[in-house]
C-alpha cells in the first residue's frame, strides 16, 4: 500500500518557530502502523519544520516549492494525481496558517476521493483495497467505517501519540524537491489584525438546590429511587 502524509507549515504556539504539527506527526504514526510505503508531501517554502517528519518515521519527503502565500491546492492535486497513492493522510486543522481545515476537503473534491474526518485508528480491511477507519465522536464513542481505497483521511488529536523523534533518522531521510506552478491565492476582503484573546462564556450549572430537591434523612431505598429518577428525567442515563 502506498500512503502519503500531507505536511503543513505549522508554527509553535508560543515561540512562533516552524515546527512539525503534532496532528501530522500522529498521522505519520497511524500510517506507519498500516505498513507499505509512506512518504511526506509539503507544498510551500518552509522546510525547517517539515523536515522533522523524517525523524518521526518517514523515509522520504517531497517538497513542492511555492511562494509563501500561494494556494497549494492545485500544486498538490497535480502531484498527487501523478503519484496514485492509495491513502492520503492529513491533519484536521492546520496550526499557524489560515487554519480553516478546508485544504483536505478541497483536495478530495479536486481528486474525486472520498474523505473521512477525525480518524483515531486505521486498520486494513478484510477485502483488498479497503480500509477500516475509526472516527472519534463525542463522549468516547467511535464510528467504525469501512471505505474503499483510494481515500483521504484526516486525523483527530485523540489518535495515538506520535512515534518518538530520532535525530539520526532525520539526517538520513531523503528530501526530493520539485518545482510547481503557483496558482494565485484568492484575495478575500477580510481584515487581519493582531489577535485579541476574548473571554469564553463561564460554565455555570443551571440547577441549584431548591427546597423540593433537598431530602434530609430519607430511607436508603427512597434515596436510591430519587437518584435514578433524577438521572433518567434529565436524560443522563437510562436504566433497564
Amino acid at each position: 500500500m502506498k500512503s502519503v502524509v500531507l505536511l503543513s507549515d505549522a508554527r509553535h504556539p508560543v515561540s512562533g518557530r516552524a515546527v512539525l504539527s503534532r496532528l501530522e506527526a500522529q498521522a505519520i504514526g497511524l500510517g506507519t502502523a498500516l505498513g507499505g510505503t509512506l512518504t511526506g508531501l509539503h507544498a510551500g517554502d518552509c522546510e525547517d519544520g517539515v523536515q522533522e517528519s523524517l525523524g518521526h518515521g518517514l523515509s522520504a519527503l517531497d517538497i513542492l516549492s511555492l511562494p509563501p502565500e500561494a494556494d497549494p491546492v492545485s500544486a498538490l492535486t497535480d502531484f498527487l494525481k501523478a503519484q496514485k497513492a492509495d491513502l492520503i493522510l492529513a491533519g484536521r486543522r492546520g496550526e499557524g496558517g489560515f487554519d480553516s481545515g478546508l485544504l483536505p476537503y478541497a483536495l478530495a473534491e479536486a481528486l474525486g476521493l472520498p474523505i473521512l474526518a477525525d480518524a483515531v485508528a486505521l486498520t486494513p480491511g478484510e477485502a483488498t483495497d479497503t480500509l477500516v477507519v475509526d472516527q472519534a465522536l463525542a463522549k468516547g464513542a467511535r464510528r467504525r467505517v469501512t471505505v474503499r481505497l483510494p481515500a483521504l483521511v484526516t486525523v483527530h488529536p485523540l489518535a495515538p501519540a506520535p512515534l518518538p523523534f530520532a535525530f539520526g533518522a532525520m539526517r538520513r531521510g531523503t528530501i526530493r524537491r520539485h518545482v510547481a506552478e503557483a496558482a494565485d491565492a484568492s484575495t478575500d476582503p477580510v481584515e487581519e489584525r493582531p489577535y485579541r484573546a476574548r473571554p469564553k462564556l463561564m460554565r455555570t450549572s443551571s440547577a441549584t438546590a431548591s427546597a423540593e430537591n433537598l431530602h434530609v434523612g430519607p430511607e436508603p431505598e427512597e434515596a436510591a429511587r430519587l437518584i435514578l429518577d433524577y438521572l433518567e428525567s434529565n436524560g443522563i442515563r437510562r436504566y433497564g
Binding site: 508554527r11 487554519d99 464513542a141 440547577a207 438546590a209 436508603p220 431505598e221
Partner: protein, 408 residues
C-alpha cells in the same frame, strides 16, 4: 450623570401651606413639587433580601445569583418594590410565533442521542442572534437528523429534518439541496465533530468560503483566530460559519414554536463507504475529561469494592476526591479537582464529598450535580441539584439493589 438642579428657595415657597394672615408660616415638606422632582424610588434593601430568600426549612439561605429561577419569591421583587405583593407575575412563557420570516438562518444541530448539548444550544443561540439582527424578523431553522426535544426553548422557530443513512456526504448533499431551495442568509455550525465535517463539505461543494472557528459573534461582525492565534480575521457575518465552543450565549428569551418545515430529498449514497458501525464509549475506561457522567467517592465512602461495582452498574466513570487518592484507595488518574482533572461532564454524582473549593473548581462545568452526604451544611449539598442527606454506606447498596432489579 446629570440631574436637574434643585432650587431650594423655590421649592420651599411651593411647599408653603396657605395659613391665616398673621399666623406662623407653615410648610408641607412631604409634598413634591415641580421644582423639587421626585428622584428615583427609594430602594428597600430588606424587601430585596426577602425576595431572594429561598423558602426552605431550617437555615436561612439566599440566592444572590442573577439567574432567573422559578422560585416563589423571585418574581415578586418588582411587586414588592411597588408595595403590592398581591398578584404574582405569571411565569408561564409565551411562545413567540414568526408567521412570515423575512429571512432564514440555518443552525446545524448534531445532538447525538436526541439530547441537546450545551454546544448545540449555543449554536442555536448564535443563530437566534443573527436572526434578530437589524430589523429582526428572521427565523431560525434547526437542521436535525432525528427527533429532538426542547428545540423551541433553545430558540428554533422551524425544524427541518434531513434524513441520513449514516453517511456524511449524503447529509451534506441533502443540506446543500435545502440551502439552494430556501436560500438562508446564514448557516451556522458547531466547530466540532460531524458538524465541522459537514460545514467543510458544504463549503467546498458550494464553492463558498467558510469562516471557521468564530470566537466573537455579533450581528455586525464575526472574528476568528488566524496564524496560530497570533492574528485574527474580522468580517461582516458571511453565509457559512462554524462557531467555537463557549463563544455564543444560549437563547434565554421566549421560546420559538419549532414548527416542522417539510423538505424532500432523495437520500444519495456514497459508493466508497462500504459499512458504518457505531461503537458506544465504555464509561469505565474513558478518561475523566472525556466522559459525560462521573460517579465520585470522597472521604465519606469506606466500601470501595461496592463503590466500583456501583460506578460500573450506573455506567459512569469512577472519580474520587484528593483525600481518597492520597490514601491510595483510588488511582491518581481518578482525582477530580484543581490539582486533578477539570471535568467537562454533564452530570456529577458525589458520594461523601464535602465540596472543598479545590474540588468544586473541578466540577464547575457540570450542569447536574447529585450529592449524598451526612452533613446538611456541606458545600457539596449546597452546590447540588439533588441533595440527599444520608449515609453513603446505606445508599450505595440500596442503589446497587435497585439497579439490578431494573436491569433484570
Amino acid at each position: 450623570m446629570t440631574r436637574p438642579r434643585i432650587d431650594p428657595r423655590a421649592s420651599r415657597t411651593e411647599q408653603r401651606v396657605a395659613s391665616g394672615e398673621n399666623g406662623r408660616r407653615r410648610y408641607d415638606l412631604s409634598s413634591r413639587t415641580a421644582s423639587n422632582p421626585i428622584g428615583p424610588p427609594r430602594r428597600d434593601p430588606r424587601q430585596e433580601w426577602a425576595a431572594s430568600l429561598i423558602d426552605r426549612p431550617g437555615r436561612r439561605r439566599y440566592d444572590r445569583s442573577q439567574r432567573p429561577v422559578a422560585r416563589g419569591g423571585a418574581s415578586n421583587v418588582e411587586a414588592a418594590r411597588v408595595g403590592s405583593a398581591a398578584e404574582a407575575v405569571s411565569t408561564e412563557p409565551t411562545v413567540r410565533i414568526i408567521e412570515e420570516p423575512a429571512f432564514l438562518v440555518f443552525a446545524f444541530v448534531d445532538a447525538p442521542g436526541g439530547r441537546l448539548s450545551r454546544f448545540d444550544r449555543q449554536v442555536l443561540g448564535g443563530a437566534r442572534l443573527l436572526a434578530d439582527a437589524g430589523g429582526g424578523g428572521g427565523a431560525v431553522v434547526a437542521i436535525v437528523a432525528e427527533e429532538i426535544d426542547g428545540l423551541g426553548a433553545a430558540g428554533a422557530d422551524r425544524v427541518m429534518s434531513l434524513p441520513t443513512n449514516g453517511s456524511a456526504s449524503a447529509r451534506a448533499a441533502a443540506l446543500r439541496a435545502a440551502i439552494e431551495t430556501h436560500a438562508p442568509r446564514h448557516v451556522l455550525f458547531a466547530e466540532d465533530g460531524d458538524a465541522a465535517d459537514c460545514a467543510r463539505r458544504l463549503s467546498v461543494a458550494l464553492g463558498e468560503p467558510l469562516f471557521s472557528n468564530v470566537e466573537h459573534l455579533t450581528a455586525r461582525q464575526v472574528v476568528r483566530p488566524n496564524r496560530g492565534r497570533r492574528a485574527e480575521l474580522a468580517a461582516a457575518p458571511p453565509r457559512l460559519m462554524t462557531l467555537g465552543e463557549d463563544r455564543a450565549k444560549m437563547h434565554a428569551g421566549a421560546p420559538g414554536e419549532a414548527r416542522p418545515l417539510e423538505f424532500e430529498t432523495a437520500p444519495s449514497d456514497d459508493q466508497a463507504i462500504l459499512s458504518v458501525e457505531i461503537i458506544p464509549g465504555d464509561p469505565a475506561r474513558l478518561a475523566l475529561s472525556e466522559t459525560d457522567f462521573v460517579v465520585s467517592a470522597g472521604n465519606g465512602v469506606t466500601d470501595f469494592e461496592g463503590f466500583r461495582e456501583l460506578a460500573a452498574l450506573m455506567k459512569g466513570t469512577p472519580g474520587a476526591s484528593r483525600v481518597v487518592c492520597d490514601a491510595g484507595l483510588m488511582p491518581r488518574g481518578a482525582q477530580v479537582g484543581a490539582s486533578g482533572t477539570v471535568l467537562a461532564a454533564d452530570c456529577y454524582f458525589a458520594l461523601g464529598i464535602s465540596g472543598a473549593p479545590q474540588h468544586l473548581q473541578g466540577i464547575a462545568a457540570c450542569e447536574q450535580v447529585i450529592a449524598v452526604n451526612t452533613d446538611l451544611h456541606a458545600a457539596m449539598i449546597e452546590r447540588a441539584g439533588l441533595a440527599i442527606v444520608q449515609d453513603a454506606q446505606l445508599v450505595m447498596p440500596a442503589l446497587i439493589k435497585l439497579l439490578k432489579e431494573r436491569q433484570s
